[in-house]
């Protein structure tokens, strides 16, 4: 599982400039820098502390590290998301589809409580909530964990596209009013990227076995 987090960290590092550029267009141009700083700290933490087999314990470390290193809006939101996911995954050493869905639900609830946003306000929720729906749909059709994740990733990607068509009413981009139209949301983008990285990591493991 540490490797999965590392895959997430890598995709953030690779897209540091991209996320920053997106944020420069409709925010303050630091999303990539903030996220990269956070996952840099996460990587250091996980490589120095003995990696816990317990998924919950590990995600808690990730969440707390993000909270204390990312700052801005994304820090408390993603930090809370990982903390809540950690609680849902406590005591587990491996993931099944149902647990994964619960963790995603807990993460989203955390983000909504902390940020008081709902779907359609041009935030990370516009990637994450569709992702949750798609994952749940896949699971109800008895699809595999990775297939569900693939559906989630694609839904998140569509959500990112959708953010281009709406006006931001939460976060820094809301100051722009109509001028936020046409731009994709940086937080939705980072959410999509993380799901994509998780999927790619899962597929690579599966092939390897």
């Amino acid at each position: 599982m540490v490797a999965a987090i590392e895959a997430i960290a890598d995709v953030i590092f690779e897209n540091k400039q991209f996320l920053t550029d997106l944020d420069q267009a409709i925010g303050d141009g630091d999303h990539g820098i903030n996220m990269a700083r956070g996952f840099e700290a996460v990587r250091t933490k996980l490589s120095t502390a003995p990696p816990a087999a317990d998924i919950g314990a590990m995600l808690k470390t990730v969440g707390m590290t993000l909270i204390s290193t990312v700052g801005g809006a994304a820090g408390p939101l993603y930090g809370t998301a990982f903390m809540r996911a950690a609680a849902a995954g406590q005591g587990k050493n491996s993931l099944d589809g149902e647990t994964a869905l619960q963790m995603l639900a807990a993460a989203i609830t955390g983000i909504k409580e902390r940020g008081k946003a709902t779907r359609g306000e041009k935030t990370m929720l516009d990637a994450l909530e569709p992702a949750y729906d798609a994952f749940a749909q896949g699971l109800s059709e008895n699809k595999s964990l990775l297939d569900c994740l693939e559906l989630a990733r694609d839904a998140a990607g569509a959500g990112v596209e959708y953010t281009k068509t709406i006006i931001a009413t939460k976060g820094r981009a809301s100051y722009l009013g109509e001028r936020s139209l046409g731009h994709q949301d940086p937080g939705a983008t980072s959410s999509h990227l993380m799901l994509a990285a998780l999927l790619a990591y899962g597929r690579s493991q599966h092939q390897g076995v």
């Binding site: 204390s68 902390r114 939460k170 009013g177």
Partner: protein, 332 residues
């Protein structure tokens, strides 16, 4: 990017070291954190005042730590709200037993991070209250936005709530006064040229050689619109009319004014602006009790300025004029 820098990633750390070296009579570092508190913190029997936010707005906020103003300031990464653990350390370091007031500029990230810190301090049974400053009239305060931004008017909150806390007032009283300032202060800014966040390495926006941005935010957030540069008087008139348009002021009312430089605009130009501000306020029969002019809430090396007007009553006036002794604001 032309800057006097060592490692971009270390700029906040090095700035804090330089600030402590410059002002040991005023501030000390909370060991291991990006937090400066008064050299004699915690002040027993006094409500503690903590503010902070992303770095790059110097002298805000650490420059206002000292007698009559803040007790502690938390420095985030450049233009990025500090994290909850940092704010929490500041709260602990300044709590003199009467609780702590958090002065937050209204940005989603700042509000969330400071709120999380308040929850952490609450778990320690430290009484914590917060106020959120939202003086920037460039942003509409509607359900369609996260609300007006907090900009230079924040310094008036520091000054007046700080003076109130210095009297030994209770937390609720200090909070009430802070909220009264927030209710009565409005600002608006403009930019002629952008700034560069060291870690980003390139300007946060681009303006043509003859262009300016009206309503610019202090993190480079876009304003209300762009247009060709006009005269100082025209620009000032536009900004001040927007500011006054959002306030209820009558002939004979007393106000305080801040003409704030964003970093690269020389004092000469700020004085030219203030000439027009004074003329307009005088023309409306308003009495300016005090004018602050200079770099108070900056945006790295952005060129531009903001104008702030605070409506005073007897209480706010007395607290505004009370003594202060901090690195960036001293008055007898």
């Amino acid at each position: 990017m032309k800057k006097v820098l060592n490692v971009p990633d270390q700029v906040v750390e090095e700035m804090l070291q330089g600030a402590v070296a410059a002002h040991p009579q005023y501030v000390r570092r909370v060991e291991g954190f990006d937090v400066l508190v008064r050299a004699n913190s915690p002040v027993k029997g006094k409500v503690g005042l903590v503010s902070g936010g992303g770095s790059g707005h110097e002298p805000s906020h650490a420059g206002f730590v000292g007698r009559g103003m803040l007790d502690g300031a938390v420095a985030g990464a450049v233009f990025t709200s500090p994290t909850p653990d940092q704010v929490y350390e500041a709260v602990k370091a300044v709590n003199g037993g009467k609780g702590v007031l958090l002065v937050i500029k209204n940005y989603t990230g700042d509000v969330m991070n400071f709120e999380m810190a308040a929850e952490m301090a609450g778990a320690d049974n430290i009484a914590v209250e917060k106020v959120v400053v939202n003086d920037d009239v460039a942003v509409e305060n509607s359900t369609w936005t996260t609300g007006r931004r907090g900009i230079a008017g924040t310094v008036f909150v520091h000054k007046i709530a700080g003076a109130k806390a210095e009297t030994g007032a209770e937390l609720a009283e200090v909070k009430r006064v802070a909220e009264k300032v927030i209710a009565n202060v409005r600002s608006m800014g403009m930019a002629l040229a952008p700034c560069t966040v060291p870690a980003a390495g390139k300007p946060s926006f681009v303006l043509a050689e003859d262009e300016m941005e009206i309503g610019m935010g202090i993190h480079g957030e876009p304003g209300t619109h762009r247009e060709s540069i006009r005269t100082a008087d025209e620009i000032t008139e536009h900004l001040l009319n927007k500011v006054l348009g959002d306030m209820t002021l009558a002939k004979g009312d007393e106000v305080a004014v801040m003409v704030n430089g964003l970093g690269a605009t020389p004092l000469m130009e700020l004085y030219v602006v203030n000439r027009k501000v004074a003329e307009m306020l005088g023309g409306k029969g308003l009495k300016t009790v005090k004018t602050f002019i200079g770099n108070y809430m900056t945006s790295l090396e952005m060129a531009g300025f903001s104008v702030t007007v605070l409506k005073l009553d007897a209480e706010l006036k007395e607290l505004l004029l009370a003594p202060a002794d901090t690195p960036a604001l001293v008055q007898f």
